[in-house]
Symmetry: C2
Subunit: 481 residues, 2 copies
């Protein structure tokens, strides 16, 4: 029996116990971006610190200007001579709207439905099951084989969902400790419930909150509605002009410098599927896709502006006749290579400011943004990961883009110069960032087994793509769903 | 000493005690339109029922399909042979946004600032001080003179702020009991802090709540923002098209049948003031006024569409990257004579439905609306009220319009055929319908004294306007502020 086989056996044998621990982790309300979430962040960090120590790591909780990082490493160099960084995040999105949940957000239990054993909770998929999959894989490998397969560094972030405000400082201060041959970043999704993927192209992200203020506080709308400034009306007018009739963002200079997709990339992405994410669960009716691009091209390869939230005046219930003093929109820009967050932010702010009527005012707020990242598809660790995934799932991994943004990838890749491999096992249908977020036991199990196989590939020796074979990405091959 | 003088003296002597009782009434959270407000509504009704019995009325609480009405009457006909109906409402607007209040909404106490004794609380001005002013005046008249000056009927409504859903049925069922020579409706404002007014023209009102639903529940905006339907974007586009470049409502047929202001009316309103409400406290910068009309004409004489609230997706804090599954706007239409609520509602719903993209859906909701009301300016009770107000305040009462809507006026005037006189003592600067709503002791005192003088005019005998004199409205006279 090979090391890999022994470790897989250990994973299988320990599944129920490992899931029980995962549910305990999910039950900790580690919401970032809300003051009330701070105690949960601290509890989750302490819980993970203990768990990593139990597995045999030297672990500690590192405080930052914002939320803490759990940082662990194995003792001394390993026989393989390789040093691997694993990244995950233990903070979760806010729960709101609470009333839309039919399950408790922080009291997960296993629910069997149509033969699938699911568990519900904020963070169930994004991203506590993800980080727990590599921790359990490393535990199992050591338990089965007596030692880790490589020197291991684990970094668990506590502020990913709020835009990682102190990540840059943290990385700078721990540059040496984090210097590894590769960073495995486990925070992305599968192509479909049966087909794995590695994400090689990620969008940049700029969050903006815009508040339009009228010169008066709230007024009676019956008395002044017909004459005084209405921030909802002003905001609607501005938002409706942010896209042109071709579905393009109408901000001056928004597309300046944008790196176009390559023909090879477009060809591969068009071959993937007629469906959007391989699962076909998302209905695009009523959506506006930029003229000249397919849905996948727009999602992965074109910059976008999305409205995430709007609020102002009477939130109901009841019909309060108020002319609100202010209205607020929250939006995000998703960037591609060639766009810089600060330029986009400044151009957007000018776009809005130019459209605010005299006498009214506008406030802007937003954390530091991050640029898009394109990763090498010939990095031998990526190839090892692709082989490990294919061995577990029986289908080749899709090398895909994403419309999402993972700030740590750019920070590790561009900032620390680490090769990154971005993979994960969640699905949009897990309701990530939404009410009733969930995950399932089988996917957790196979995700953990995938890590064992990837560790086995790394332990066994790295090899490039077989040139000219079906294995090499970009060549003609059947990667239909 | 005349009856009027004796009653004024009694009002003056009892001021502090009367205000203390008023604060007790304001402390009862009688919010209509919210399920949680129901106990407060019941408590306020019982409190008023007791208070009216103490004054010597036969009073009872009449249940309806929605909120109760307190109905009281004096025993038997009075010497004057006249029968007067007094109307007020004891329900209040919701408190939200609670965090914007710097005073407790339901724990009023007197706060002295710059020599003005104010009290803060939801309902302080709209409308508990108003109804308490005529109750205290009637109490004082009886205490000073041994009997009421006329036969009195008092009707206190508990659902005005939610659009009076059961008012029509209540009036129909109590038609005989409510049959009076005049209805004094105390729920309107002064022209300025020093100048009284009577409102003779009120707008109609249609409340609508519109929700745009995407075909999916909330999605991750990074993944699907560039391709799937965004209800905030759809809603913004629709709202921004509701007004045209002339500031007119762009709904087909919206202005059909609209009764234009008379030249005499426009002339009188233009003479009133360059300021908007006589107090000059509202800043119109950034507002859009329909082309061809002054601010006061737009407020009192032109129909309007106002956005009262909007909500969808991430409400913050924190930057949740959500593509929301729905977005909602609450809006009101203010109607003038010639427009019917149902026609406007139907035309608006068609306007929106025509603009919802295929694959998305729209839901509409809204209580029954009411039409605009124009009252006679030669009704002798109105003339008596104008004389009483002028005697108290030392300035002639402005006969004004309002952009606001008081459903009971139409119901009593058009439905029961009662002559109505609409007056009151609140000001927009009292923050009605807004956080930190307040009122002041002096205005309550002078409002109560105004009612004594009006009762004195009614008791003394009704007389028409002195034809051709300064007193007659519409003639040249100095009614500048």
């Amino acid at each position: 029996m090979s090391d890999t086989e022994r470790a897989l056996k250990e994973v299988d044998a320990n599944l129920e116990s490992s899931v029980a621990e995962l549910l305990e982790l999910i039950s900790i309300p580690s919401v970032s971006g809300e003051e009330e979430g701070r105690p949960g962040i601290a509890r989750a960090a302490a819980w993970l610190d203990d768990a990593l120590a139990d597995v045999g790591f030297s672990s500690r909780v590192v405080e930052t200007a914002c939320n803490p990082v759990v940082l662990a490493r194995s003792d001394g160099p390993a026989e393989s001579g390789k040093r691997l960084l694993f990244y995950g995040h233990f903070d979760v999105q806010p729960v709101a709207p609470r009333e839309a949940w039919t399950h408790e957000p922080f009291a997960p239990e296993i629910v069997e439905d149509d033969g699938v054993r699911r568990f519900y909770g904020r963070g169930a998929s994004d991203s506590k099951s993800q980080l727990w999959s590599f921790i359990e894989a490393l535990r199992a490998w050591k338990a089965a084989n007596g030692a880790f397969p490589a020197e291991i560094v684990i970094m668990l972030e506590g502020e990913e969902e709020m835009g990682s405000p102190s990540l840059g400082d943290f990385l700078e201060q721990h540059r040496e400790e984090l210097d590894c041959d590769v960073a495995f970043i486990c925070d992305s999704d599968m192509w479909s419930p049966t087909r794995p993927s590695i994400t090689t192209q990620l969008k940049g992200l700029v969050h903006e909150t815009v508040t339009i203020n009228a010169p008066n506080a709230d007024l009676h709308s019956g008395h002044y509605g017909a004459v005084a400034a209405n921030p909802i009306r002003i905001l609607s007018t501005i938002l409706s002009s942010l896209h042109d009739e071709k579905g393009r963002v109408a901000i001056d200079g928004f597309y300046d410098g944008v790196v176009e997709m390559t023909e090879s990339q477009r060809k591969r992405w068009r071959e993937l599927s007629d469906e959007l994410d391989g699962s076909g669960e998302v209905n695009l009716a009523g959506g506006v896709i930029e003229d000249g691009y397919t849905a996948i091209e727009a999602m992965w390869g074109r910059p976008a502006a999305d409205f995430n939230g709007i609020t102002g005046g009477n939130q109901g219930p009841g019909g309060r006749s108020v002319l609100p003093g202010s209205a607020t929109v929250r939006l995000t820009f998703r960037l591609v290579a060639g766009q810089t967050p600060e330029t986009i932010r400044n151009r957007f702010r000018k776009f809005v400011s130019d459209r605010v009527p005299e006498g009214c005012s506008v406030e802007f707020d937003g954390p530091e943004g991050n640029a898009a990242v394109h990763l090498s598809e010939t990095n031998p660790f990526l190839i090892a990961a692709a082989r490990g995934l294919e061995a577990e799932w029986g289908q080749p991994a899709v090398l895909k883009g994403t419309g999402g943004s993972i700030p740590v990838v750019g920070a590790l890749n561009d900032g620390l110069g680490l090769d990154c491999v971005v993979l994960g096992f969640i699905l949009e249908s897990d309701a990530i960032h939404a009410p009733d977020e969930h995950y399932d036991v089988e996917r957790f199990h196979r995700g953990t087994r995938s890590w064992i196989r990837i560790l086995g590939e790394v332990r066994g020796g790295l090899r490039p793509w077989k040139q000219g074979s079906d294995e090499e990405p970009g060549r003609e091959r059947n990667i239909g769903n």
